[in-house]
């Protein structure tokens, strides 16, 4: 029988070895996270997920819709709740009567639409779930008008400044999602006019992706062949901070 002390010191040694090894591994992982190349390697996961998800589900596959009884008692406002932007505040003070949605870029006939003109278009009402990248979900009912044109991506330019430099929120989707029946520009939430906290006067719903794709406070819709020259070139405000452009999981 080895002495209790030898046993104890051996256990101490193994424990220290394990702690040191795991500390070194964690430090290594954190260094890899901050490197310029490793996040790109990890980014392969996003491309594989996108390919696999598009193989497993059809272009027109529909997101789950819910009944009125399943609506969340309150629809959570996340991120910006009231854009700190004088231009936006002036529009809001006037119930968005002077607000115009600018649609331009690679489009046959660039145009500007008022909220009244959008409301006059064919509409669709859907009760769907909003899944935030943070992990929470809420169910709401949305009402819309359809965007149309030919290019590769639809870019949503928004009114809300996100940082001290005044970088405005923006998002983009490709045409597979833009033309999806459940992709809508929403001006109503739960049967009432869309509140400012949830993106008044207009926000987009892209039901088969996560919440950060669903830009609020939309001022302009631009159709582009590439988003490389917009923002930091990753296709959206959060994408420029390292989040995936394809947010299907």
């Amino acid at each position: 029988m080895p002495s209790a002390r030898a046993d104890h010191s051996r256990r101490q040694f193994v424990l220290r070895l394990l702690t040191a090894t795991s500390a070194a591994l964690i430090a290594g992982c954190d260094a890899a996270s901050r490197s310029s190349w490793f996040p790109k390697v990890l980014g392969v996961g996003e491309r594989v997920s996108r390919g696999a998800q598009r193989l497993a589900t059809s272009r027109r596959s529909m997101a789950q819709e819910f009944s009125a009884a399943q609506l969340s008692p309150q629809f959570r406002s996340n991120g910006t709740a009231n854009p700190d932007n004088p231009e936006y505040q002036a529009l809001a003070a006037n119930q968005f009567a002077n607000w115009r949605l600018r649609i331009d870029g690679l489009v046959e006939h660039p145009l500007q639409l008022s909220l009244g003109e959008l409301r006059a278009m064919p509409s669709r009402t859907q009760i769907t779930r909003h899944d935030c990248v943070e992990g929470w979900s809420a169910i709401g009912q949305w009402n819309r008008a359809v965007p149309q044109a030919a290019a590769r991506y639809v870019v949503f330019h928004c009114a809300d400044p996100m940082d001290a430099l005044g970088t405005k929120y923006y998002e983009s989707v490709d045409f597979e999602d833009a033309y999806h029946p459940q992709t809508i520009l929403a001006y109503e939430l739960n049967g009432a006019v869309l509140p400012i906290a949830n993106g008044a006067p207009l926000r987009v719903r892209i039901e088969r992706q996560l919440g950060y794709k669903m830009a609020k406070y939309i001022m302009r819709i631009e159709l582009v062949a590439s988003f490389a020259k917009i923002g930091a070139g990753n296709g959206g405000y959060w994408e420029d901070q390292g989040y995936e452009w394809y947010a299907g999981i």
Partner: protein, 244 residues
């Protein structure tokens, strides 16, 4: 003592784990560590668990961690959801492909039928095996060459129930995969229930790993580790074991 006893008493080595199993095992170790730690990072972005279709069903969260898990448990170390997701969704594919290859290998090589499927003798030994485990007694000699019944059941449960379940509950968190059969996530109660089950399954896996590592530590850690690295496992002399 007879001749048989003296042969059983002499130590001898054999190849316990095939090269394929050894490689797949260690890839799995790395993938599961990364998935667990980056999973806690993702959990920390909303450190609460709900049950139901949404987080706002009227019922409060049944589990909340005010400050989330400590940074030494998460990957990356600080709060960094975007990077946590990158690690998680990359290693999820490594883990999935690795597991798929393992299951196919298991069946084709007859590893499943030969080493993992319980035999009738195994079932009969279940009572004794439970007592042995509680006394931290381990099979020696020829019996040590085979997995015992509790070991087989634990491995089968993890391979064919727990791991597929944790993957399925991960898929249940994807808004796009909702559309495969709209409403399928409601089978487990909805998106937030799936998130909770994904979390519970992950911790169940941690519990398995703790028991697994404990058993390795107390049943001859050097011999066990070597057999999972080089494949070589030495069947010890029964007498030597007993006299200790």
């Amino acid at each position: 003592m007879g001749i048989e006893d003296s042969t059983a008493a002499s130590p001898h080595a054999y190849l316990r784990h095939s090269l394929t199993v050894r490689i797949l095992h260690w890839i799995n170790v790395i993938a599961l560590c990364v998935l667990f730690m980056s999973g806690l990072q993702i959990f920390n972005a909303h450190p609460a668990l709900n049950w139901g279709r949404s987080s706002y069903t009227g019922a409060p969260a049944f589990f909340t961690l005010a400050h989330g898990f400590p940074s030494w448990m998460t990957l990356p170390g600080g709060r960094w959801l975007a990077m946590g997701r990158r690690w998680h969704l990359f290693f999820a594919w490594i883990f999935f492909m690795n597991g798929l290859i393992y299951v196919v290998y298991c069946i084709l090589s007859r590893h499943l039928a030969r080493d993992l499927a319980p035999t009738r003798t195994d079932w009969r030994s279940i009572g004794r095996s439970i007592v042995d485990h509680l006394h931290l007694r381990h099979p020696t000699g020829e019996a040590a060459r085979r997995y015992n019944i509790l070991q087989k059941l634990a491995y089968l449960f993890v391979i064919f129930a727990l791991l597929p379940f944790v993957i399925l509950m991960g898929w249940a968190l994807s808004p796009r995969l909702d559309t495969v059969i709209p409403g399928w996530v409601d089978i487990v109660g909805g998106r937030q229930s799936a998130r909770t089950l994904h979390f519970i399954a992950a911790w169940t896996l941690v519990a398995f790993v703790l028991v697994h590592v404990f058993e390795v530590l107390i049943s001859g850690v050097y011999n066990q580790l070597r057999s999972m690295v080089t494949g070589r496992f030495v069947v010890a002399s029964e007498h030597a074991k007993r006299s200790r």
